[in-house]
Symmetry: C2
DNA sequence: GTCTATATGAAGATAGAC
DNA sequence: GTCTATCTTCATATAGAC
């Protein structure tokens, strides 16, 4: 096969072909419907209508509801990973670095999409154990790892005194202080979204406590 | 009406009448089915069969599926409250008190029922906002309050230096360090329950960090 | 109050034409 | 690949007898 013969194809779809237009429409629609209604609450009819395709087109691309759900979760985890990894950490001081990580993470976790994805995964993990594992790796484990990396650097510079605790444990404690109360309250009060001031306060308290616990006096 | 005429009734159901035998059977069955399948995943047929009653008996006591769901959540929250408040706090030292609170709380939160209730509420809070609020008050808010009480005492004895942070904020930070990673991992790995050793480690790390942050040097 | 039987609608999935 | 039309099953809820 001559290279020129495939050039047009490559040019036509420079990246991410993989999914035809309709398949992409189905996946996007499924994403919205599943996030809004959960697995059991969503119906293939809703998805098919939102995508603007017929039933059989949907089933031509995804064999059944479960497979479609798995595809959605997989795509969302991929997206989640990208978003969590994107923020550039600004500031030199440890406090500033912790703050930028906390703010960026809360931004994602407390977003409508972040909360909806979490709701869905939490509810369906018993029926789809693989998806639970996948989400844990893409979300909580990744942010824990990012924080641990920075703590490692700070520790090596002598800015921290972990007192025998591993960096991974310390990082997990920090992340859970940042996320804990914030996420819980937003989950349980879906009609009363948290203010930016409230979010700042949660981040600030976590940072204060963490620094008091582990920052070396100077 | 003569007192003697109602005596037999009182004797027949000394406490908690409120629900007839069948109504109680329906509620108990609904509890199991909803906890195992969520609201949308559960069917009234499953409930009715598990309760060993007919459809119309079920509908005689609860007008519809939503009302039954609300009744289940309400009962579970009541139960949750009792269980959270029950443990007697042993020990005099601050570290021991924190430890007994952490252990007791993790016991509940990480139990199969605790996780199942959380999954259900998190998933359905957008459709049943009242139930989300109710759960928050019975669970997270209550344990935060219990911890805050003890911190208040410790602070008044001069054992702690909160450095301007309110006891409520400090209590929330502690509770979220205890619960955070533990609950997340159990939620996301339903087929790999946490060991007792792992649970102890989570509690111990939280206590270590908390004391390092807020315990007054002596 | 409780049951059996059923009405009514909607779900997931497929058949067959184009 | 895509559509319209349909099959089958099962859900919620009710009717009517005891």
């Amino acid at each position: 096969m001559a290279i020129s013969s495939i050039d047009s194809k490559i040019e036509a779809s420079p990246r991410e072909p993989l999914l035809s237009k309709k398949a992409r429409a189905v996946l996007d629609a499924a994403r919205d419907i599943f996030l809004a209604n959960g697995f059991a609450g969503a119906t293939t009819d809703m998805i098919q209508q939102a995508a603007g395709v017929s039933k059989s087109t949907m089933y031509a691309h995804y064999p059944n509801k479960e497979a479609l759900f798995a595809a959605v979760v997989e795509a969302e985890c991929e997206q989640f990973l990208k978003t969590v990894r994107k923020p550039k950490l600004t500031g030199e001081r440890l406090a500033d670095i912790l703050n930028s990580m906390a703010q960026a993470y809360l931004e994602i976790v407390l977003s409508q999409d972040g909360l909806a994805l979490y709701r869905m995964i939490v509810a369906e993990a018993p029926r789809f154990p693989e998806l639970g594992r996948r989400f844990y790796l893409a979300g909580p484990a990744t942010i824990n790892g990012i924080v641990a990396e920075r703590l490692e650097i700070a520790a090596s510079k002598g800015e921290m005194d972990l007192g025998g605790m591993g960096v991974d444990s310390a990082a997990a404690l920090f992340v859970n202080m940042v996320r804990g109360e914030a996420q819980m309250q937003c989950l349980m009060h879906p009609d009363a979204p948290a203010s930016a001031a409230q979010r700042d306060q949660w981040a600030k308290d976590a940072i204060t406590a963490f620094l008091r616990a582990f920052q070396k006096e100077h």
